[in-house]
Symmetry: C2
């Protein structure tokens, strides 16, 4: 389904109904283990008790680790569609949060799958974010990792963010900004250790890694796992489980695979060779330009 | 990483290099079990044998179930970001396929998470597709399921498609078109049986279901599992495993959840109540208008 908590809160419900739902969430959260009633099969509306709105909302707010107002997700030409959309979908469901797709320059952005997006703002227009997510890609990601203006903006945002995160090769950008120096981190499996060591970060082969205020995810779909862990950290177990149910995230890959250890060696070698041919000449040429 | 096979093929490689990679894929595919060499740590380029291009490409083509030229993904205001992006990412990596985001009307489309997309075409401009994917959402999905012009277009496309698929509540649209009548299907967990029975389809509580040329996926992230199964069907195990590795799809949800059976009953009830309040009045009003 797609009825995000946020959507309901922001766009489709009156303030009054939102209060009722907030109350309902807290009421049900407090009733842990007390209720095993099945989902009603008839279309009876669930009648929440409205008697103690204020105290219930207070309890709900107490479950927040921090008051977060802004979530920014970087996008750029060649950004991976799932790298940006996964964390946006999970973290963007925090009630009351403002979501922004932020581009490096004005104008539409083309994803790696050829989807044209109209971002909400450019880096010149954003001075502060509570959460920043840096998605990966391939050529566009490498260009971004050598863009001094962008790297400086990332450091500025990190100065006042609660968390700064990357997905997949987005860690190459985050690492290039210097913010992963001396930290443990993860990234896409492709030449992971080499790419992080280049920026004095230590690769840890986990689905996601948290070190201080930096969160990093492995390749593409790992961004969803990381974002759910962040959501649990920020809003608690029930909130994270509600969003997981909304996205029916009970994965069942049809075949074995998804990481080098579960993939036929020949397939991993083929993909590595393909990536090598696609990215190494660009990295080498940018490194040489930088030295000169 | 985001170096999609398609992207490399279509945008970033010369035709000559593409041929080398095709050859490499086939060569490595044919060497199943023969190679356990680790990924080279040095930046040596993998030298594919170029000696038998034609026969290798022929072998690769023989691995195709059908020659697919066009993949169309429906988008509309309120479409779920992951419902459309998951299958687009997986199926869009088939070499040589043309991907289209297709909207009902002209102009940009706003996803459920507030992302503005510029679609590639409208339904008026598309007469034929080899693969059609219908993603879900909430209010926008319900409106689409009562849009006779859209439903007629879906039936027309299905007449000549290889597969017609839905993700999440996209099955409500597909079912409303009549194409799931008498078929087994799945959809988002929310009132799944009721919503499919309404259109004489039989709900099967699986991650994805194939019945004839119709494929249906459960909620949101199930679209990735379905698309990978379709890819394996269309291009074989190695191709599907290569794309799984590209998207590092080795999921590790940080907490238990993602389906009603794995979720605290109180959370499931809360989400059901929230969806009820968001969608039932709209469905009821549209059903009444239709009868009148």
């Amino acid at each position: 389904m797609t009825f995000s908590l946020h959507l309901l809160a922001a766009q489709e419900l009156t303030a009054n109904l939102m209060q009722k739902i907030l109350a309902l969430i807290v009421m049900l959260s407090l009733s842990w283990g007390c209720s095993n009633d099945p989902i009603p099969n008839t279309r009876e509306k669930v009648n929440a008790s409205h008697s103690a709105h204020d105290s219930l909302m207070q309890a709900m707010n107490q479950n927040q680790k921090a008051t977060l107002k802004t979530l920014g997700v970087l996008v750029y030409d060649g950004v991976n569609d799932l790298d940006y959309a996964g964390p946006l979908y999970v973290l963007g469901q925090m009630m009351g949060i403002e979501r922004k797709l932020i581009s490096i320059e004005d104008g539409p952005v083309m994803t790696v799958m050829g989807v044209e997006l109209n971002p909400d703002a450019t880096i010149d227009e954003v001075d502060q974010l509570d959460l920043l997510v840096i998605p990966g890609g391939a050529r566009g990601t490498i260009l971004a990792a050598y863009d001094d203006k962008l790297l400086s903006w990332i450091r500025k945002i990190d100065d006042n963010s609660l968390y700064t995160a990357s997905v997949c090769t987005g860690a190459w950008i985050l690492a290039a900004s210097g913010l992963l120096e001396g930290r443990k981190a993860t990234t896409n499996w492709y030449r992971a250790e080499e790419m992080l060591e280049k920026y004095d970060a230590q690769f840890v082969p986990e689905r996601y890694v948290r070190d201080g205020k930096c969160w990093t995810a492995a390749g593409v779909t790992a961004g969803m796992d990381m974002a759910l862990a962040m959501l649990e950290d920020l809003r608690g177990f029930d909130y994270a489980q509600a969003v997981m149910l909304d996205m029916e995230y009970d994965p069942a890959p049809p075949i074995l695979g998804g990481s080098p250890g579960k993939t036929r060696p020949a397939v991993t070698q083929m993909m590595t060779a393909m990536y090598d041919q696609g990215v190494l000449p660009l990295i080498d040429s940018l490194d040489i330009s930088r030295i000169q």
